[in-house]
Symmetry: C2
Subunit: 194 residues, 2 copies
């Protein structure tokens, strides 16, 4: 039990990993722990829009574990253009260390969820990715494009980067978002490419 | 879809509901959204210690939704001695409003999870309660009794309030915690009853 407790307290550190989005109407940048909760709830909420029957337990499990590696690596904005592969290798090393703190079978259970999410092949993983890619856009649409403007992310880059994974995982969500993003582009809520 | 998005953005407010515990080694009080993530991960981690076969999807779902009513009511320390029933009635009203924002069948799905947790009768709900009651103690043991000292909570009140639900839901966890709490009591990491 004391090893399990050490693992649980290690997870607590994800509450200190800061993301690029602010919580709606707040000055505080959100952290990866509350983000993980939010997209798990989002996935449940979007389930009626899934195009196939999904094992929601795996969807939710993937979303709860997908950012745990950031305890060691920190968060990187999805629009980063360099170092993505090195970053993914570092995250894998991180989750091997962190999940390695807990005993089997939980270690393999967590790692399998993390890998399924990263591989993004199963319908469950693609649905989970759609939620993860869409939530910053939803928060930005509610915050006048905050993280796009702060980080110099253009409309074209947003569309090109988040469109394909959201459409692949939850087409109805992309249909909705595409329209909203086009409207907001006219309001100037995007950055200039740097 | 736009109603679903409104609901998802309403949930964002749980990130601004402050609890009494600080994140380990941090000056910041944790919020109910990151707490909900943490105990869902805790439940997965503790699964090998369950005394019966559990539907972990329900356990995790209950833990993800159990604090959503605090968006309207705020957090109340578990050691509050008055107004508990009024508070629970207010939380029920709150979750009816909040879950009412999303369409069926998700509305009933979320409300059923919330009610199952509150009723604390099923093995899944009791296991979920054990995690929810134990995490403040684990954080306090890592933070020299921070929330107990700040709120004047004595050793006897901790034992009496969290012991029975933790023992009912996960006896091995209580066995461990009881020993840790007795050790820490000798270090003076508790408050004086007010």
């Amino acid at each position: 039990m004391s090893r399990t407790v050490d693992f649980i307290l290690e997870l607590d550190k994800l509450k200190s990993v800061t993301r690029k989005n602010r919580s709606k109407g707040s000055d505080r940048y959100e952290n990866s722990a509350e983000h993980s909760w939010h997209i798990a709830m989002m996935a449940y909420s979007l389930q009626p829009y899934a195009t196939t029957v999904l094992d929601m337990h795996r969807v939710v499990g993937m979303l709860l574990v997908h950012d745990v590696g950031e305890i060691d690596t920190g968060d990187t904005i999805v629009y980063a253009t360099e170092g993505w592969e090195e970053r993914k290798a570092a995250e894998l090393e991180a989750v091997r260390r962190i999940f390695g703190m807990v005993q089997e079978p939980q270690r393999s259970f967590f790692l399998a969820l993390w890998l399924e999410f990263e591989e993004a092949v199963t319908p469950e993983a693609r649905f989970a990715h759609a939620a993860d890619r869409a939530i910053p856009a939803l928060l930005n649409l509610a915050n006048e494009g905050q993280s796009w403007r702060e980080n110099g992310i253009s409309y074209q880059r947003v569309i090109g980067r988040i469109g394909p994974p959201i459409e692949a995982g939850c087409p109805a969500l992309w249909e909705y978002l595409r329209g909203r993003l086009a409207e907001e582009n006219e309001k100037g809520w995007f950055g200039e490419d740097r």
